[in-house]
Point group: C2
Chain length 264, copies 2
DNA sequence: GCAATAATCTCTTTTTATGGGATTTTTGCA
DNA sequence: TGCAAAAATCCCATAAAAAGAGATTATTGC
């Protein structure tokens, strides 16, 4: 049973938090147990969330996420500066290589793919749009961690230490920091089969106004299609894309219309 | 300025309501004006919504919908019984005809496409996934209205009367009711270029547990590809799909595992 | 139609959300 | 780098409204 801290606003929104890939459907009974809310309170919350369209329920089946989510997703695709600026680069990357290109956002201790495009027959990524990715493994995670300010980095290393060590980044936090410094110097991260066996990931960070990284541009490609030379070639393109997206974001920040820049 | 009725739960969620295609990005100033909340209150709401991931803000740019939306959309695709049961039928329909096949949900006075598949080169529908559709025009709207219980139908006719008349359903509410009765008898609705010029829509309703309609299965196809005979042929398939989805939904309702039925 | 379950209602107590105004932080620009 | 303007947050007395126990009503399954 989750501790129900926070105010009533947080408590309503906490209802949305319990929906996960392992538990897509919840009965009121289960929710009471999980969240520790009283019966009337829970029903009030559910009523509100359902009226907002965030939840639906089939008669006597449990509650699931509701159609408002679909509507918001549509609007988000039209408004998210990262997606708007990044998708052209995904197109470009997938045209140049037989690969999947991804835009991955870092938020709240999660990595989340927000857009992806594939130029391979089997576009089944282990982490399609919307599915949170592991923090410790893969080029994406590393490309972001490498550029994190120390005070954000250290706790993250603590949390994901086992994975980071397993992947060969180092046996102590300090060794890992050193490895990440090299990634930082290179400006991009490469991973061989860390997320999906046989697949190479090449990722570079996207910055929001020159501060800390908020996302990553990544290309995943079958290992047998690349070697040291081609990886370097691709990494240049990935870095270029990431840099351009970063610049577009910082322009947007100052209220500059980037439309003409993007479509050139 | 919107009247801010309701309790604080509704007021937080009302913030999500103001995001629309015409206004994808909001500054706190604009939100205060629009929602009529005091400054501290609004900032509290925004803080909560941002922490929940439902909103994001770039430094000094306005607020937009946040990454949690993407995550929820992924989960919804995996949990929505309508999508889960319907997508196989969309696949079937698009394989049989050069068309776009849609799954459209009716909720809160809106029609919302929740899934679609196209077998034509130019899959640019005017109403892609997540974009609310007009209530008065098109086969989808009519296929649902025709099966609405009278007490739901009449207010809906009032609201959309102008559109319904423009489309030729009748010049008085009673005439429209008569037209809809014919649709009901046929079990499906056809529309010629009502939503997109030159495009024919053929739609049949999906029911939740035999009660009122909650969604519609629709095929849109270029007008020059069909005639009276083929439309009838397609409508049979569309009706079949809608019926099967309805049945799957009512089974699910009773807790029956429909997996084996669907994959056969 | 009837028992069992699910959802809603009632009402008082306690908790907490609210907003005016002051304060602090951030930003834009010289 | 520093300074004025704007944005965001804090403080706190007051008013408001959530919360929950238990009773009540509505649904459901059979």
């Amino acid at each position: 049973m989750t501790k129900n801290g926070g105010n009533s606003l947080e408590r309503v929104l906490a209802v949305l938090e319990v929906f996960s890939e392992n538990h897509l459907e919840w009965t009121p009974e289960e929710l009471m147990e999980e969240l520790g809310y009283s019966r009337p309170t829970l029903y009030r919350y559910l009523k509100t969330l359902r009226e907002a369209g965030l939840l639906t329920s089939m008669p006597n089946a449990g509650f699931t996420l509701g159609p408002k989510v679909v509507e918001m997703d549509y609007l988000l695709r039209k408004s998210d500066a990262l997606i708007l600026n990044g998708s052209a680069h995904l197109k470009n990357l997938t045209e140049r290589y037989s690969c999947t290109a991804l835009l991955v956002r870092w938020y709240g201790d999660k990595l989340l793919c927000v857009d992806s495009l594939a130029s391979v027959k089997n576009p089944r990524s282990s982490y399609p749009r919307g599915r949170p990715m592991p923090l410790g493994r893969g080029a994406i995670a590393r490309s972001i961690m490498a550029f994190l300010p120390r005070r954000h980095l250290m706790p993250m290393i603590e949390r994901t230490f086992d994975e980071l060590r397993a992947v060969g980044l180092g046996n102590t936090p300090d060794e890992i920091v050193e490895s990440l410094k090299r990634v930082r110097k290179a400006g991009y991260a490469v991973a061989f089969g860390e997320v999906t066996p046989g697949v190479v990931g090449i990722a570079a960070p996207v910055f929001d106004a020159g501060q800390s990284p908020i996302a990553s541009v990544c290309v995943t490609i079958a290992g047998h299609l690349v070697n040291g030379k081609t990886i370097e070639e691709i990494s240049l393109e990935v870095r270029g894309a990431a840099t351009q997206v970063s610049e577009a974001l910082s322009l947007h920040r100052h209220g500059v219309d980037t439309t003409d820049i993007l479509t050139e």
